[in-house]
């Protein structure tokens, strides 16, 4: 969590002094000791990254290769996670799918962050009727559960990867918009803003160079957490058949494909992909938990 560390040192400049303060690695160690969430999150995130990259670079089998002679094989030495109803290697598909979901989640979180914080910045700083309209729309979008909103948008737009990303992003933007707008309203009357305006800085300059860097922290933490929600929501939509479509080895698609086999005992087709989702989301949530602690610790 580069971000919170940055905020901390900026907040307390004496702490980062080259002479007196403890070294970088010592600081990191004491930080890890005090925050088990950081340890758990960091370790899980590293594991997720390694697994996802390995799955893309060197999967043990081709995740899309069909092998009817080997269908529904239980986990064993040849296929660590068994094979699915088409004889595809579940292990390779899980590795590949994990990377896919993480990348889609990253895109959604980045888009939602960009759109949400920009709209929140403009809306909060300009105020007036622009603010009114933007906030009414945001409130309206937030009066639905975000998963359901994403679902309805995805249904209407049609099932493509692009449309799923758009749908989930639209569902998340209002939360970031509200968060950023709140911080902007608080910062609008601050001395440094008045100072910048007094020396004749333009509105866009004040917004982007002075306010934005000071309000972006909480939104970034929130966007990080959204990476986790996005993975859950995108895989959930795909599980329902509204998101990414088979034969893509997306994790939710895989869980859905195995769902009809669980009552007859072939549990591995569904269980392993779901466990991979948990791995990724857990990493993000632990890191988010840590970032949340740091942010709140700063406030008080």
């Amino acid at each position: 969590m580069d971000l919170t560390d940055d905020g901390r040192t900026r907040g307390r400049p004496d702490d980062a002094g080259p002479a007196g303060g403890p070294g970088r690695s010592a600081r990191l160690r004491s930080e890890l000791k005090r925050h088990p969430s950081l340890v758990a999150g960091g370790a899980l995130a590293a594991a997720t990254m390694i697994v996802a990259v390995a799955g893309h670079l060197a999967p043990p089998h081709n995740p899309l290769a069909i092998n009817p002679g080997h269908s529904l094989a239980p986990p064993g030495p040849g296929h660590w996670f068994g094979t699915d109803q088409f004889g595809r290697d579940v292990f390779s598909r899980v590795l590949y799918g994990l990377g896919l979901d993480v990348v889609i989640g990253l895109i959604v979180a980045a888009l939602a962050f960009a759109v949400g914080s920009m709209a929140g910045l403009v809306s909060g700083y300009l105020g007036g009727w622009i603010d009114d309209i933007v906030m009414r729309v945001a409130d309206l979008l937030m009066s639905f559960p975000s998963f359901l909103l994403a679902l309805s948008i995805a249904v209407v737009l049609g099932n493509t990867v692009r449309n799923v990303i758009i749908a989930v992003t639209i569902a998340y933007v209002p939360y970031l918009l509200r968060l950023t707008r709140g911080s902007v309203l608080a910062a609008r009357g601050a001395d440094y803003v008045l100072g910048a305006r007094a020396v004749g800085a333009s509105r866009s300059r004040v917004m982007t160079l002075h306010i934005l860097p000071n309000v972006v922290g909480p939104a970034m933490v929130q966007a990080t957490l959204m990476l986790g929600w996005a993975i859950l929501d995108v895989s959930g939509l795909s599980f329902l058949g509204v998101g990414i479509q088979p034969p893509s080895p997306e994790l939710g698609v895989q869980v859905a494909q195995g769902a009809s086999y669980i009552t007859s005992g072939q549990w591995w087709i569904s269980v392993f992909p779901g466990a991979a989702i948990i791995l990724a989301v857990l990493a993000i949530n632990f890191l988010g938990d840590y970032a949340d602690d740091k942010l709140r610790g700063q406030g008080s």
């Binding site: 969430s37 409130d139 937030m142 939360y175 859950l232 509204v242 869980v255 779901g274 989301v281």
Partner: protein, 364 residues
Amino acid sequence: MRRYFIRRLGLAVLTLAGIVVLVFMLTHILPGNPALVAAGNYANAHALRVIERQMGLNRSLAAQFGSYLGNIVHGSLGTSYTTGNTVAHDLFTRLPATAELAVVSTILATIIGVPLGVAAGLRAGGVTDWAGRTGAVIGTSIPIYWLGIVLIVICYAVLHIAPAPTGEVNAFAAMPPSYTHSLILDSLISGNWPTFFDALRHLALPAITLGIVETAPILKITRSATLEVAGCDYVRTARAYGLSRWEILKNDVLRNVATKVLTAVGIVFGFLLGGSILVERIYDWPGIGLYAWNAVTTTDYDAIQGYILLVGLVYVLLNLAVDLLYAVADPRIRFGSAGGGPRRRPRPPWPGRRVISPPWAERH
């Protein structure tokens, strides 16, 4: 008090109007052609135009909005072309099944989450706190549909302690006459005990699935509320007076935590009605979620639209109920928190004081 209630009611009506407009926009302004869906992939251009005319899609947007609004005012949500019934009837008969699931799982989550949250909040930094927080983080990271599958694998396929995931009851059960459309209530009313107990057994797994996932936000909110209250001056004063721990917990802490918990339960309960779609799909549970899923897979526009409107309505009502209860429980809200001076209530942000968001979206 009355003025607050009236204002809050007005906001709810406004939000409902907004939702009606939003749903119209979703189905009429976003790209995507319902006529093409109804006509099928092999329809020629002429057939498509005929169906478009039948569905009124060739009229101006304003005219379409007018008739859409008129239908809603008359309580008509259109006809589902997969079931052949009116959407309103379909939703009305399926809502009780979803409500059963939501009520039972929320009770479960409250029973587990609130005591754990209070215990964790009272001993922040302790073992209970650590376990509770870790559990909550894990709970928010589990895909609910995966949890359902794992529970079926363990309880049905391996341990054989749960019935097959075939909906509310097994296929051979004698169905009671439907008074309420809730199988549990119906079989209870008609004294049909075998069906009643079978229905209870079928309810267990889906309710536990939802309950586990819902426990996490309830625990988190209860914990932070307890932590906040336990650090308050009046608790310190009570302690200084030498009141017993239990006395303080009962009179000072729990009473103040209760309002926060009410909000948490409201949020979670609302999420259940929308989010149960995944669980109902896994367990073949015949509620509105499964109905919506069927509608989605067959692109049954009227049914989808009706479902979204219904969930929006339930959300608004739930939000309203929680706010009003909150106002009854906490006089600061109905009278404003002003100590002296003119009593001016802070205007609640439109459309309401709080916005119900999914449990993983709550931040506090």
